[in-house]
Amino acid sequence: MQMDKLLKILKTNARLSVEDLAALAGLSPEETAAKIEGYEKSGVIKGYMAVTAEDFSDTDSVTAFIEVKVTPQAENGFDQIAKTIMSFEEVDSVTLMAGSFDLAVTLSGTNYKEVALFVARRLSTLPGVLSTSTHFVLKRYKESGFVIDGEVADERGLVSP
């Protein structure tokens, strides 16, 4: 199924006015406002946030990407363990993967040691977790469709027929 047009637009820019959103989506402003309210109430839209391009060297924050292998449980597969992991405040995202590991976990900490200790003491000791492999993020180039590092130049001339 195709993603709703309005939702698609909101995913690229959630700060447009209802009037602009309506014009882009080909809806009336009333329909647009009602649809957004519907998405918010039903939980299709979980929230809005800014995609920022902070310089990693300037902030006291490290982000890690952790591959987690787990033993699925008879009753609820991967859900139980995923829910346990996502309940940790440090964890930003938990995703079930197809491939050589099961859960992709991203988390942030103030320094490497903090992240390492979290993995060693809390994540890998959870019942059902077979192994973890931790990768630290060094630099982001593109995120959520936005270019974070490096400009994409328009190589076309200024005016052409």
């Binding site: 820019n13 014009a23 882009l24 076309r156 001339g157 200024l158 005016v159 052409s160 027929p161």
Partner: protein, 390 residues
């Protein structure tokens, strides 16, 4: 010292440089310009097409192809035309692969026009028809279209300009710069006028894949019109392949065989790498067209809405990627409007009269830009219009 001027052929010397060129120089001389001035897509050529070109180079396919183009490409073009508009063209004898749609226009006009022949040109339009007609010794006869008619060619306007010397009608729809289109019923009325005459049609359908709402209809689909029509289309706009220079002509064999002679002597064949890329475009990129069209459509809706809001009356364009609002309310000429807008707010748009005198009182705004870019430019235009109409 050689007096070069006296040596240049009269027809070339008298040819006016494109009005766009002049504006290009003005814009280029400045820094920090936000442009809505280009006539080419902003998307990347689909990756599979670029990959096909790389592969063709790796395999060393760097020789001439047949004059009229690779057999595989002509077959694919024929299949694509059949699929889109249901008209059959024989790949072996009725299709020529050209260097962009531009070359197709050139060889079509040059193969048909004798000195004194009149060529009807629907205006406003792309800039090349009239100079090529003049270069052939023909007489360009503009047919003005109007915003009130959604910039369509009407049968009345056509009839008015037909004379005993009329050889060819240039029909450029979907239209650059107006965004106007011709529906089936619009075309049927034109066909009725042409039926029974000896007038041929050069149908420039380079924007055929970019219509919003109504699906594109070609004049070749109407009655017997295909037998008097040279269809020009290509890859530049549909697949965002402007720099690849890939276009084609589809026409009855007695016409292609004549055009092919000019193509043979002037061009030899279209670039081989681009031809392999074009085969891939036709094979695998239908979905890319749909995605690009949806994106253009969003921007189109926003732009038309915004232009009308800021006081530039704009009819709803249904094709290509341009809006062509009226600037009459500001009291400025098209050129003055564009120069002042550039000067004061660093926004580049193209004066409507660059596309024929009928375009005076309008400007062409391209929406082949990201929506954020368009919004920033329109914000500046709004301030300018307010000052002028305040």
């Amino acid at each position: 010292m050689i007096n070069y001027d006296s040596l240049i052929a009269k027809k070339c010397r008298e040819m006016k440089p494109s009005g766009i060129r002049k504006f290009f120089d003005l814009a280029n001389a400045r820094e920090g310009i936000i442009s809505l001035g280009v006539g080419e897509p902003d998307f990347q050529t689909p990756w599979s097409v670029r990959q096909a070109a790389i592969t063709s180079l790796e395999r060393g396919r760097t020789k001439y192809t047949a004059n009229k183009g690779l057999a595989d490409l002509r077959k694919a073009i024929s299949g694509n035309i059949q699929k889109r508009i249901g008209v059959e063209y024989e790949p072996e004898s009725q299709i020529i692969v050209t260097v962009g749609g531009s070359e197709g226009i050139d060889i079509a006009i040059r193969s048909l026009v004798d000195p004194g022949d009149e060529v009807l040109i629907v205006e406003p339009c792309f800039v090349c028809y009239s100079p090529i007609v003049s270069l052939s010794g023909g007489v360009p006869v503009p047919i003005p279209t109007r915003a009130e008619d959604k910039f369509k060619l009407t049968p009345e306007a056509l009839k008015e300009k037909i004379s005993s010397r009329t050889k060819l009608l240039v029909l450029p729809f979907p239209n650059n710069p107006t965004g106007g289109i011709m529906t089936r019923s619009d075309l049927e009325k034109i066909a009725e006028v042409l039926e029974g005459t000896d007038i041929l049609v050069l149908s420039d359908e380079i924007y055929s894949s970019l219509t919003y709402g109504e699906k594109h209809v070609s004049i070749t689909q109407i009655g017997n019109m295909a037998e008097r029509t040279i269809l020009v289309d290509g890859f530049s706009k549909a697949y965002s392949m402007t720099g690849w220079r890939m276009g084609y002509i589809a026409a009855p064999e007695p016409l292609t065989s004549q055009m092919l002679k000019i193509h043979q002597y002037a061009i030899m064949c279209s670039p081989t790498v681009s031809q392999y890329a074009a085969v891939e475009a036709l094979r695998s990129c239908d979905e890319d067209i749909v995605k690009m069209r949806e994106e253009y459509d969003q921007r189109r809706r926003w732009l038309v809405h915004a232009l009308n809001r800021i006081g530039l009356d704009c009819f709803e364009p249904e094709g290509a990627f341009y809006a062509f609002p009226s600037i009459k309310r500001t009291g400025l000429s098209s050129e003055r409007f564009c120069e002042e807008l550039l000067d004061r707010y660093s926004v580049a748009v193209v004066p409507g009269n660059a596309f024929g005198e009928t375009g005076e009182g309008h400007i062409r705004i391209s929406y082949a830009y990201s929506i954020n870019h368009i919004m920033t430019a329109v914000e500046r235009m709004e301030k300018f219009v307010k000052e002028k109409t305040g």
